[in-house]
């Protein structure tokens, strides 16, 4: 298990390093140019994502899952900080890597499930953008990456439930914070119009996929 945690820590370092490189080069936000609170936020993101990846390593069966997960962490991190996503080559490449991992762990059937999952996410997000303006157009690439990381439709459904819970929690916290200096009605209205970045929310859903089956097995 120690070897797995060391490998996972290395994946976390590489993922955060890629995110740092994208933020510094493509999005023009190197850490030394940021204000003090944003530097703290970035360091907190390094620590939190690394700790989560190491913790998941201790409960997960295969290290292969960590490659697409680490790449998804990179996209979520850049989305959290800048509301922009990494370049197209990175996100589409991550989808292909996610599908390759699906193939290597589940064979042809695993690949088919991965293809269906990412295609379903693509279609749902595109229709959401086109007809309901639920998110930005760039989030479609992120959704494809999310589908490829989840690996199958049931996993996507389970992860989306957790994403929905996480979004509700964000709105609840925003309402509670708004109640400090606003009347309740105004605080709720302001919280309801909040649009948190999708990357971190989807990341919470993927994290839940790693420990929810173990948790359910323990409860049953």
């Amino acid at each position: 298990m120690v070897t797995k945690i060391i490998w996972a820590f290395l994946f976390a370092l590489i993922a955060n390093g890629i995110a740092e490189w994208i933020l510094a080069r493509d999005l023009q936000q190197p850490i030394n140019n940021l204000s003090r609170p944003r530097q703290t936020l970035r360091l907190a993101r390094w620590v939190v994502s690394s700790l989560f990846i190491c913790w998941i390593a201790s409960v997960s069966s295969s290290l292969l899952y960590f490659i697409p997960f680490a790449l998804f962490t990179t996209s979520a991190a850049t989305d959290l900080e800048t509301k922009y996503l990494p370049p197209d080559a990175f996100t589409y490449g991550s989808v292909v890597i996610g599908l390759a991992v699906c193939f290597s762990t589940g064979g042809w059937v695993g690949l088919r499930h991965g293809l269906i999952a990412q295609a379903a996410c693509f279609a749902l997000w595109t229709l959401g953008v086109a007809f309901f303006r639920l998110c930005d157009a760039g989030d479609i690439k992120l959704a494809m990456q999310f589908g490829a990381v989840c690996g199958s439709l049931p996993n996507v459904g389970l992860a989306l439930m957790v994403v929905w819970l996480a979004a509700c929690t964000v709105v609840l916290i925003a309402t509670l914070l708004g109640l400090r200096d606003k009347p309740p009605r105004q605080a709720i209205q302001q919280a309801a119009t909040l649009r948190p970045p999708q990357g971190p929310l989807l990341w919470c859903g993927v994290v839940a996929l790693f420990f929810l089956p173990n948790l359910m097995r323990g409860l049953l």
């Binding site: 059937v109 088919r112 293809l115 295609a119 379903a120 693509f122 279609a123 595109t126 229709l127």
Partner: protein
């Protein structure tokens, strides 16, 4: 004329006229993707599931190509 691009899209008015068409075709391909995904997920045998997955991926790639062509300046 813009070098390396389609001749039709080099003229601004032609480009403006083509954009809604590309959007609508892209949306059509997206709906086709969703239908094929639903059929693939509920297919009874492996062979038809693979066929539906193939159709879904072809429709998805077409939709991506159409959306990318639409957003090209």
């Amino acid at each position: 004329m813009r070098r390396g691009g389609p001749i039709l899209l080099a003229k601004p008015h032609a480009r403006a006229a083509v954009k809604p068409l590309l959007s609508n075709l892209g949306l059509l391909c997206t709906v086709a993707t969703l239908i094929a995904v639903a059929l693939a997920a509920t297919a009874l045998d492996e062979s038809s599931a693979w066929w539906m997955t193939g159709i879904a991926i072809a429709a998805q790639l077409s939709a991506i190509a159409l959306f990318l062509a639409r957003s090209e300046r």
